[in-house]
């Protein structure tokens, strides 16, 4: 095989980052894995022998298993909502190509990403609190007599998590929709197709890679998120990320926290892989 010279192998370039990642990312992950394989004594200290008891706990105790199931359900719900809300915005962005309106839309979509998740969550706390804007509106217009305890409800958690993750869905959707050749729309119209048909037969199928990308970004983030549910809904909710956090900070039981978090990770990766495979299968079927 002819070698192409003047082309570096590249190893030297990636080496610093690889060393960094091994030391700061992979090694801690491996240690979490090993941590999850130890039982604890009464005081919560890890014992030297190996066992799968922590994983048994994760699957048998409803406190944990229910949290995993709930996280799974919530993530699906949030992903679906992000797609439903994000697609129209991305579509609008792909149609408005220039001007103040486009800049304004971009600023509104991107500015949440610029702000810390704790700030965004706090914003919802303020919005949904007893004398926050929403309750003021409900009481003021007479829909309810008393302010509703919107915080600590599941709905509030879903809404706030959707809000936090929505920009992550909009960006790949916008990229995909923006990448569709604008002439295709005109071609479709010149062949007699109306707006709806053009959308369902041309735009939507071609935007599918963007939909896939959005799902594969939002879903893992939703599975692992804990700051927002904690601030908006309280620490006792049955969500996996939250349970891991409370096991670490209140119960100090690191091994079970490790087992739960690794189970969460594996579950997330399996789901993402399944999504990826599903989308590829769909694409291949339609490529004919």
């Amino acid at each position: 095989m002819a070698a192409v010279r003047g082309r570096l192998s590249g190893v030297g370039f990636v080496l610093p980052a690889v060393v960094f990642l091994v030391l700061v990312f992979l090694v801690p992950l491996v240690r979490v894995l090993s941590l999850s394989l130890h039982p604890v004594d009464g005081a919560g200290n890890p014992l030297p022998e190996f066992s799968l008891v922590q994983y048994q706990r994760v699957f048998s105790e409803t406190f944990f298993s229910q949290a995993l199931v709930r996280s799974f359900q919530t993530s699906f719900l949030v992903t679906a909502l992000c797609l439903a809300l994000g697609y129209p915005v991305a579509y609008a962005l792909s149609r408005v190509r220039t001007g103040v309106l486009r800049t304004l839309m971009f600023v509104i979509v991107l500015s949440p990403l610029l702000t810390s998740v704790v700030v965004r969550s706090y914003g919802w706390v303020v919005l949904l609190s007893a004398n926050g804007a929403v309750n003021r509106l409900l009481v003021g217009t007479g829909i309810t007599d008393q302010p509703l305890p919107l915080l600590t409800s599941y709905t509030a958690v879903v809404i706030s998590v959707t809000h936090v993750l929505l920009p992550f869905a909009i960006i790949p959707l916008t990229t995909a929709l923006g990448g569709i050749d604008p002439h295709l729309r005109r071609a479709s119209q010149s062949l007699g197709a109306g707006a709806v048909r053009t959308f369902t037969r041309v735009t939507l199928p071609l935007s599918l890679p963007g939909v896939a990308a959005a799902c594969m970004v939002v879903f893992p983030l939703a599975m692992g998120i804990y700051i927002t549910p904690l601030l908006v809904g309280g620490a006792n909710q049955p969500l996996a990320g939250l349970r891991v956090y409370s096991q670490i900070t209140s119960v100090y039981d690191y091994p079970v926290a490790a087992a739960l978090s690794l189970t969460l990770l594996v579950l997330t990766l399996v789901c993402v892989a399944a999504m990826g495979a599903g989308f590829r299968f769909w694409e291949r079927r339609h490529d004919g």
Partner: protein, 277 residues
């Protein structure tokens, strides 16, 4: 093929029907955009509340909470710490990220895909695991409640963003330019410094912005590895939300938002400036 089969439709649809599409799109999109902006706007507005409550709309406008926060010793320490971390993190992630992105795009070593996966993996892994991992790991190394510990953690979280952004720039780089430089007698190092890096600048700056903004806002990992002496702004906000209920937290949140915007604008100006030269 003597006859044409489709005659043009001559009836002109009424104005409402013609604009129906735009209305059908515009109304929901506006609602969604309002939804996106609402919490941030509410926070910013609430921070101007003259009284120690978060009622909305506020009964007046006052900057007292900003004054109190900016003169508070606790908050000042946090501001300085967050600022220091931003500088440190941007430095490490841009250097590591630029080298890695270039190596991944141009390199021909086996296992490139694997390395790329590892570089982007922190994005896929739930933050709570990274937090637990670093907590346990730093415990043994004495890096808990330390600036170097936070620096490492923030760099880890920010690195995938930087790598991804710079890889986009690197992919657009025309290899013929580097070859041309070689034919003119420039060795590999000179080529990298005088041709490659300048042309990667837009991507590097964008990566720097992502890294800076990520570090400024990082809380999920920091919460578990910081301590009394190393409380960054987001971490302090996190504790404050649970315990304090006056608008000073809203004021800090707004300041944090503004800081991110300033970083973005400054870097954007720099990019335009350097492109015009």
């Amino acid at each position: 093929m003597a006859e044409t089969t489709t005659a043009p439709r001559v009836r002109r649809r009424p104005a409402v029907a013609r604009h129906a599409g735009r209305i059908a799109l515009g109304v929901p999109v506006t609602a969604i955009l309002l939804f996106l902006a609402a919490p941030l706007v509410v926070l910013a507005v609430s921070s101007l509340n003259p009284t120690a409550s978060l009622e909305f709309p506020p009964q007046g406008v006052s900057l007292r909470w900003y004054a109190s926060v900016l003169s508070s010793p606790d908050w000042s320490v946090s501001f300085r710490l967050s600022g220091l971390l931003v500088l440190m993190v941007v430095a490490t992630t841009t250097v590591l990220g630029t080298l890695a992105a270039y190596g991944l795009t141009r390199g021909t070593f086996p296992g490139r895909r694997l390395v790329e996966g590892v570089a982007l993996a922190p994005l896929m892994v739930p933050e709570i695991i990274i937090a637990l991992g670093l907590l346990y790991y730093f415990q043994g190394l004495g890096l808990l409640n330390s600036v170097p510990g936070l620096w490492l953690a923030h760099s880890l979280v920010a690195l995938p963003f930087a790598v991804r952004t710079i890889m986009i720039s690197a992919a657009r780089l025309d290899p013929a330019l580097e070859r041309a430089a070689a034919t003119l007698g420039a060795g590999p190092v000179r080529v990298f410094l005088t041709v490659t890096l300048p042309l990667l600048r837009p991507g590097i700056l964008a990566g720097a912005v992502f890294a800076a903004v990520t570090s400024l806002g990082e809380v999920a990992v920091s919460v578990l590895i910081s301590g009394a002496n190393t409380t960054t702004v987001p971490v302090r906000v996190f504790s404050a939300v649970k315990f304090e209920l006056d608008p000073s937290v809203a004021a800090v949140s707004t300041l944090l938002m503004l800081a991110s915007v300033v970083v973005m604008v400054v870097v954007d100006r720099l990019t335009r400036l350097t492109e015009a030269v």
